[in-house]
């Protein structure tokens, strides 16, 4: 305000002051409401997501290699030796209930695709070898079963718990991951797709 300018009427000044204060109040109100609205949207977005579903960073990436001894102690299997074949890797344990549920799915997959060069590998997770062997003799299953001392392989694959199933493409990349009992349709769709490209 220029004090040398034309003398302003007091009431004019008063009105200006009141106007700026009123505007200030509106700005504060709008700012608060806007902030609350933004927080609500973020909170709603966060609450509507399932925090237990985390996309594996391995998808599309080269599968971590491993060389593991079979549960029966006979020989060991190296993943990189299976390059050119579709490999299904299944982490399981004898103490895991969901693993019993999915066992027939793995057996059916093994029976249906082994002729086409598809390999199913079972890897025992946090299990006593004797308990693992008892589980296998009870439920059957002729695909290779491996032991993973210290869970080094499970940690490399980012396993949270069992069962978890991965499908590795012939070029060695992880193309599929399912947490929990594996779904026959989803698993065989992926295998068909990969077998068709080879």
């Amino acid at each position: 305000m220029d004090p040398r300018g034309p003398a302003s009427h007091p009431s004019g000044l008063e009105a200006t002051g009141r106007w700026t204060r009123r505007r200030k109040r509106w700005v504060v109100l709008a700012g608060t409401l806007g902030g609350v609205a933004l927080l609500s949207v973020l909170l709603g977005f966060g609450l509507s997501r399932d925090p237990t579903l985390i996309r594996s960073p391995l998808l599309g990436r080269p599968a971590p290699d491993f060389s593991l001894r079979a549960l029966d102690g006979t020989d060991s299997i190296r993943l990189s030796d299976l390059r050119g074949q579709v490999v299904v890797i299944n982490f399981w344990a004898s103490w895991c209930a969901e693993c019993r549920v999915e066992h027939p799915v793995l057996a059916a997959t093994w029976d249906r695709y082994r002729e086409q060069g598809v390999v199913v590998l079972g890897i025992a997770f946090q299990d006593r070898p004797s308990a693992s062997r008892a589980y296998l003799s009870e439920l059957g299953g002729g695909w290779p079963q491996l032991s993973d001392p210290g869970e080094r392989t499970a940690l490399a694959y980012g396993v949270y718990g069992v069962p978890e199933t991965f499908v590795v493409a012939p070029d060695g990349r992880v193309m599929f991951k399912q947490v929990g009992a594996v779904n026959y349709g989803a698993l065989t769709d992926e295998i068909e797709r990969l077998v068709a490209t080879t």
Partner: protein, 169 residues
């Protein structure tokens, strides 16, 4: 600024600087293997727990992660390399603190911005309080300013009075 205010401001600045120095130095780097394992494990999330670090979790998987970390440290890997291996398998989810880049930087910057904004607001508030309820800048600068014709001065003082009359709320 009156001198108690200056003393207060000085104390706040000294305390803030001391805090900043402590925060910047962080924890002293541990010397024993156990301590180094703990340092790495406390930055990783236990995969089978709800918001527990690998250092704090009693679960079997966390124990195995700790022994993996110990083996890797003994093999000469750096803590960042070991964290990188876990990130490769589990994703950045496994890190308890978000990385300081990309969109995750927001989580690091917002507290700093809020602190700076709060400090600025508090400083302004202190300055305003110490000036009292009289609208000092107008009273001291304009009304007593030199070269103002007497007529204008009367008008101006009346205007100021009308403003300061409704000022206290």
């Amino acid at each position: 600024m009156r001198w108690p205010t200056a003393a207060l401001a000085g104390a706040v600045i000294v305390a803030g600087a001391a805090l900043a120095v402590v925060a910047a130095r962080g924890e002293p780097s541990p010397r024993t293997l156990e301590g180094r394992v703990h340092a790495v494990a406390s930055t990783l999330r236990c995969p089978v727990c709800q918001n527990l670090s690998v250092a704090d979790s009693p679960s079997l998987l966390a124990q195995q992660m700790r022994s993996t970390i110990a083996k890797e440290l003994q093999a000469g890997r750096s803590p960042d390399e070991i964290r990188g291996e876990f990130v490769a398998g589990y994703g950045e989810w496994i890190l308890l603190a978000p990385p300081k880049r990309g969109i995750d930087l927001v989580a690091w910057l917002i507290p700093i911005l809020l602190m700076a904004g709060g400090a600025a607001w508090a400083g302004l508030a202190v300055v305003r309080w110490t000036r009292g309820s009289v609208p000092a800048p107008i009273a001291s600068n304009a009304a007593t300013g030199p070269g103002l014709p007497p007529g204008d001065r009367v008008l101006l003082e009346r205007a100021i009075r009308s403003v300061s009359d409704e000022e206290p709320e």
